[in-house]
């Protein structure tokens, strides 16, 4: 008995629990700093948010202990299907009974307490995904299994989008990293990255450069992956083509400005003789040539030949590349439609501000601008606890919840940011290492799910406060004010700790 107990203590990962505690306390201190001017009182005044957060922390610790010591670890695996269905029901229900909070319908209002089922849904989805993946004959490369996994992730995602909580839904894309770990082809990650890149480049640069990016991604890949015969020739030809297309717009522009200068010279003259009209007509035809169509024309002219080649050499990668190219071109041309018609105005606005398409420091860009000012004014060591003028005087909105990282940045400087991000990275890396060491596939997959969730929240939230990501209202795990978020992450994390301890006990 004593033996078992000692074993138990050893196999609990105290490093993870320690990091968790440090982060929670950092969050509590910064919530106090962010709110102390409008909500005077001590850290423990329960009227105000800092005091309330203390209560949330205590209850979270209670929850953590319960999960770790009272609930049998194997229950999670056994109950994951009903749990998933139950949470899904809550997600749907909340659309109909919730009050409207800033345009989204995702909060249950239970008197003094509000909670967001989307938070719990991360847990249930992680559990079911781990369950599905850990089935004996599950092979992600098999279409049926892949679709099952995608269904488990996609269903709650869709419902959350319907709640107008697109930000929370975005977190679910992190599960694709988990699928990658279980054997999903890396090309999927590449494809998703490419889609995002094409979307952004079409909005900010031009369709021409999007197609250019597409070609300069696909061409080298298919050359490398293709049959080795005459590879050097193909590298030279492909490289030459990419280089030429990269220069094409500039060449055309130079030509056009030459023509324009000449035509300007004519039009400022007193009158233009008839002979010049023909001259103008000829050259103005050249001015109308759109480099994009020239480029696409060349590409599509080469398609049948490449298709024949793919058939002849049984070059599957080339065939897929061609399909991806056509799909990519369609995406490029429908980006404007998607952007204008599928996204909601406020989301469009946030993306426009992020991509620098719109300068609007007083309106849409206000939050980000104020947040950058607060963080940027922190310097190396920060202004000190409670000394931040921006966070104290309320220039940053939502500073205790979504923008809590601003307070860290302003009052603790780069040193504080380094510490906090370092702690998160340690937490995530430690989770991955622990998961990797598990022989049980359910526990391992679940560990990766937790790591992916925390990572997505961290990257999106901090990215938002420093202007790397559009404004997406999701909390910073463990730091942001709010019980429902803190509870959810506590449960998420401690289920893994419980499973992990269990695994170490039996193996």
């Amino acid at each position: 008995m004593t033996d078992g107990r000692a074993h138990t203590r050893q196999s609990v990962d105290w490093w993870l629990i320690g990091t968790y505690l440090v982060l929670v306390v950092i969050g509590w201190i910064n919530i106090f700093a962010a709110t102390h001017s409008s909500e005077p009182g001590s850290l423990l005044n329960f009227e105000y948010r800092a005091g309330k957060q203390f209560v949330w922390i205590l209850t979270s610790l209670g929850l953590a202990a319960t999960i770790l010591y009272l609930i049998p670890p194997r229950l999670w695996e056994a109950a994951c299907i009903p749990f998933y269905v139950f949470v899904l029901g809550l997600l749907v229900l909340v659309i109909f009974v919730s009050s409207d909070v800033k345009g989204s319908h995702s909060w249950f209002d239970l008197g003094p307490v509000r909670f967001q089922p989307a938070e719990i849904s991360k847990i249930s989805t992680s559990l079911l995904l781990s369950y599905v993946v850990s089935q004996q004959n599950f092979r992600i490369t098999r279409l049926k299994d892949f679709l099952t996994a995608a269904f488990v992730i996609g269903l709650p995602m869709l419902v959350i989008v319907a709640e107008s909580e697109t930000g929370s839904a975005l977190v679910y894309t992190g599960f694709i990293l988990v699928l990658y770990r279980t054997g999903l082809s890396g090309w999927w990650l590449g494809a998703i990255g490419l889609i995002i890149l094409l979307f952004i480049s079409t909005l900010t640069l031009s369709p021409y450069w999007s197609v250019f990016i597409l070609v300069s991604f696909l061409l080298p890949c298919s050359i490398v992956m293709g049959p080795p015969s005459r590879r050097r020739f193909r590298i030279l030809a492909g490289g030459g083509f990419v280089l030429l297309m990269g220069l094409l717009p500039f060449l055309l522009e130079a030509l056009c400005s030459l023509i324009n200068a000449r035509m300007d010279g004519l039009s400022t003259r007193v009158w233009v003789p008839a002979a010049d009209e023909d001259y103008n007509y000829f050259w103005s035809f050249l001015l109308k040539v759109n480099p994009l169509y020239l480029f696409l024309g060349l590409c599509f002219a080469a398609l049948p030949w490449l298709g024949w080649r793919a058939y002849k050499y049984r070059d599957r990668f080339l065939a897929i590349s061609l399909v991806v190219f056509i799909a990519g071109v369609i995406l490029v041309f429908s980006t404007d439609y998607l952007f204008e018609n599928v996204l909601q105005p406020h989301q469009r606005g946030r993306i426009e501000v992020l991509l620098g398409m719109r300068e609007d420091p007083a309106g849409m860009g206000y939050n980000v601008n104020q947040s950058k000012i607060a963080i940027g004014s922190g310097g190396l060591l920060g202004k000190g606890f409670l000394q931040g003028t921006q966070t104290t005087f309320g220039f940053v909105p939502e500073q205790a919840t979504d923008f809590i990282f601003c307070t860290v940045g302003e009052e603790w400087g780069f040193a504080g940011c380094l510490l906090v991000i370092g702690l998160y990275i340690f937490l995530i890396a430690r989770l991955m290492i622990d998961a990797e060491s598990c022989r049980d596939k359910f526990t391992r997959t679940y560990g990766y799910c937790v790591a992916a969730c925390i990572f997505m929240h961290l990257f999106i939230n901090v990215g938002m406060t420093v202007g790397l990501m559009p404004v997406i209202g999701i909390p910073l795990p463990l730091l942001s004010y709010g019980g429902s978020s803190l509870w959810a992450f506590t449960i998420l994390l401690f289920i893994f700790l419980s499973l992990y301890r269990d695994e170490k006990k039996y193996f």
């Binding site: 001017s37 409008s38 990293l177 990658y180 770990r181 054997g183 890396g186 003259r269 007193v270 009158w271 003789p273 008839a274 002979a275 010049d276 007083a362 309106g363 206000y366 104020q370 950058k372 000012i373 607060a374 963080i375 940027g376 004014s377 922190g378 310097g379 190396l380 003028t389 921006q390 104290t392 005087f393 309320g394 220039f395 940045g409 400087g413 780069f414 940011c417 380094l418 991000i421 990275i425 995530i428 890396a429 991955m432 990797e436 022989r439 990572f455 990257f459 901090v462 990215g463 420093v466 202007g467 790397l468």
Partner: protein, 613 residues
């Protein structure tokens, strides 16, 4: 277990993401100082101290544009509390609906209104403002602001002075870092050209504010405050009396008068008619639409922007070129039988006068045929290989007088007109398929020649100076205001100064030969002034001929050179010559003795003749 090292790749991805975030944070916190300044700006409040704008004087020290005080009412919607709308409306002389409407509008765009507030009413009279000042404590969120506005003691030079108005977003963008919303700037004319001198430098007082945007105390006891620097005064070369008189003479006519002091190139008057009244300038916002919709385009400064055929005054240039080229000698006689006959039955017509005549007489009587011979001799000269080379040589001479290019005055928006070259005709007719008769109308200032009234005044000043000119300019050097060195340098034409007196003699005879002698400009004669002039009658394809006249006086010590161009005014002697000579009389004698002529000119209304666009 760890299939093909995928966890390693994920770990590397995690590291890359962490580095990305930290790099961005590092650049915000350690590399970019902008955010620290912004943070200070957030917690301090700058009260702007506006400088007084520089005064614009005429050449005799008369104020053309001064400053007076006006009062604006500002609102900060965030500070407005419940108040008695009707009472405020009564105090401010507006309707309660106006105030309600404005506040509703501000509420809608509240996020874009800064802590300084937004201007609700502009330019209130002092009495109204005083009334408001007494009761303003009842209306939190509303405050008054004193601001200097422009005022114009004399109605002279609306077009060249230009107007001042509040800068818009576009203007702020085009002058990065110089203006802020609510600032005023010169938009046209001298106000725009000398904006940098006139505007002065804004100052500021800094206050600390707390989280609720209330001002607490001066920042560092005001040690960082900066006082405003008033704008520099500008002295123009304009003679206010002459300018005003020119405007009166040109009223109800379309055209332009430009007067230059030949010995300095200083512009004494620059009239563009119809023009903008200074009353409209003072409150441009109210009158802008009206001005912009006026079919006669009062904003269009004809003196430097309208390109006209110069007509017969251009004969002077051709005569001078002929003399320089040696193909014309003053005593040469040419016949004129009601015009110049060339080719098979072609004729360039002329009016009845004695024939044959010499050069002086040709200027005095403005003979067309004479200059057809002159031009033909210039460009068909055997020393040039071809007509094309001859024409290009002619073009080079003409350009040296300032024609066909911008003169480079300090006045904005000057245009260049146009003088044809051999290329012009090669394009129109084909290389070698035209000759001197094709271009014969150039001899009398018609055809493809276009010049602005400023060009013509400059030609007149060049002749008055017997062969050189100074670049016309409108700003005089004064204390603290320098003018560019080029305005002080003589510009010589390609024609030797020796030849000019011969032309001057003809111009003197055109004005001073007495009635009945055939001088085309006898109407411009003023006793003892020795006015030298040349009339022009330029064809206008859209109606009656344009009336043109250039003159300078006195002959031997020219004080003023002037060009008048009256659209659809008929012969040069009908309108342009009387108007120009009256202005000379006014400038040199101070009073007008030809009152009957003056009356007739002021009353003449040619607007009905002018075809509008």
């Amino acid at each position: 277990m760890s299939a093909d090292g995928r966890h390693i790749r994920l770990m590397i991805g995690l590291g890359v993401a962490a580095v990305l975030l930290l790099a961005k944070i590092f650049s915000l916190q350690m590399l970019d100082d902008r955010y620290k300044e912004d943070a200070d700006r957030n917690s301090t409040i700058y009260e702007t101290i506006y400088p007084t704008r520089g005064v614009i004087y005429d050449r005799n020290g008369e104020i053309l544009v001064g400053n007076k005080v006006a009062y604006d009412i500002l609102v900060n919607p965030r500070e407005v509390q419940a108040f008695d709308t009707v009472a405020l409306a009564a105090v401010l002389d507006v309707t309660p609906e106006f105030i309600r409407g404005r506040l509703q509008e501000y509420a809608k765009r509240r996020s874009s209104i800064g802590s300084q507030g937004v201007t609700m009413l502009r330019m209130l009279p002092a009495e109204t403002y005083m009334r408001f000042d007494e009761v303003k404590y009842r209306f939190p969120g509303f405050r008054g602001q004193v601001r200097g506005i422009r005022y114009y003691p004399v109605n002279a030079g609306g077009n060249l002075l230009g107007y001042v108005s509040e800068v818009d977003q576009d203007y702020i963008k085009r002058h990065p870092g110089e203006y802020r919303s609510g600032d005023y700037a010169g938009m046209t004319g001298i106000e725009a050209a000398r904006e940098a001198d006139l505007r002065g430098e804004k100052g500021y007082h800094i206050y600390l504010r707390n989280s609720r945007n209330q001002i607490e105390q001066p920042y560092k006891e005001g040690s960082e405050d900066k006082e405003a620097v008033p704008g520099k005064d500008i002295t123009t070369t304009i003679d206010a009396v002459l300018q005003q008189y020119g405007q009166e003479l040109m009223q109800n006519k379309v055209g332009s008068v430009v007067a230059i002091e030949p010995s300095s190139g200083e512009i004494l008057a620059l009239v563009s008619s119809p023009g903008i009244d200074v009353e409209q300038l003072a409150d441009i916002g109210k009158h802008y639409a009206e001005i912009a919709q006026n079919p006669y385009k009062p904003m269009y400064n004809r003196a430097v922007q309208a390109s006209y055929p110069p007509g017969s005054v251009f004969k002077l240039v051709n005569g001078l070129i002929g003399l320089e080229e040696g193909v014309l000698r003053p005593e040469m006689m040419y016949p004129c039988s009601h015009g110049y006959h060339f080719g098979a039955g072609h004729k360039l017509g002329c009016h009845g006068h004695k024939s044959p005549l010499n050069m002086e007489e040709s200027i005095m009587m403005s003979c067309n045929a004479y200059y057809c011979y002159v031009l033909k001799n210039i460009i068909d000269n055997r020393k040039y290989g071809s007509v094309a080379e001859g024409l290009d040589a002619w073009h080079e001479y003409v350009e040296s007088f300032g024609f066909g290019r911008k003169l480079g005055s300090d006045f904005p928006a000057e245009l260049s007109g146009g003088i044809p070259t051999s290329r012009t005709y090669n394009r129109a007719y084909g290389r070698g398929r035209w000759n001197s008769t094709t271009v014969i109308s150039l001899s009398i200032g018609q055809g493809e020649i276009l010049a602005t009234p400023m060009h013509l005044a400059n030609l007149c000043a060049t002749i008055a100076n017997r062969g050189h000119y100074y670049i016309p300019h409108i700003i005089k050097a004064s204390e603290g205001v320098e003018i560019e060195e080029r305005f002080r340098q003589r510009q010589y034409t390609l024609v030797d100064t020796l030849h000019f007196p011969k032309v001057v003699k003809g111009m003197w005879r055109a004005v001073n030969s007495g009635p009945g002698m055939g001088g085309t400009a006898w109407i411009a004669h003023v006793d003892s002034l020795d006015i030298c002039g040349k009339t022009g009658t330029a064809q206008n394809p859209r109606g009656a001929d344009n009336s043109v006249f250039i003159c300078f006086a006195p002959m031997n010590d020219p004080k003023i050179a002037i060009a008048a161009y009256v659209e659809n005014g008929g012969f040069g002697a009908q309108y342009a010559a009387p108007i120009a000579s009256l202005m000379v009389e006014k400038y040199l004698k101070g009073q007008i003795r030809r009152t009957e002529l003056e009356e007739r000119m002021k009353k003449a209304d040619l607007m009905a003749r002018v075809k509008r666009d």
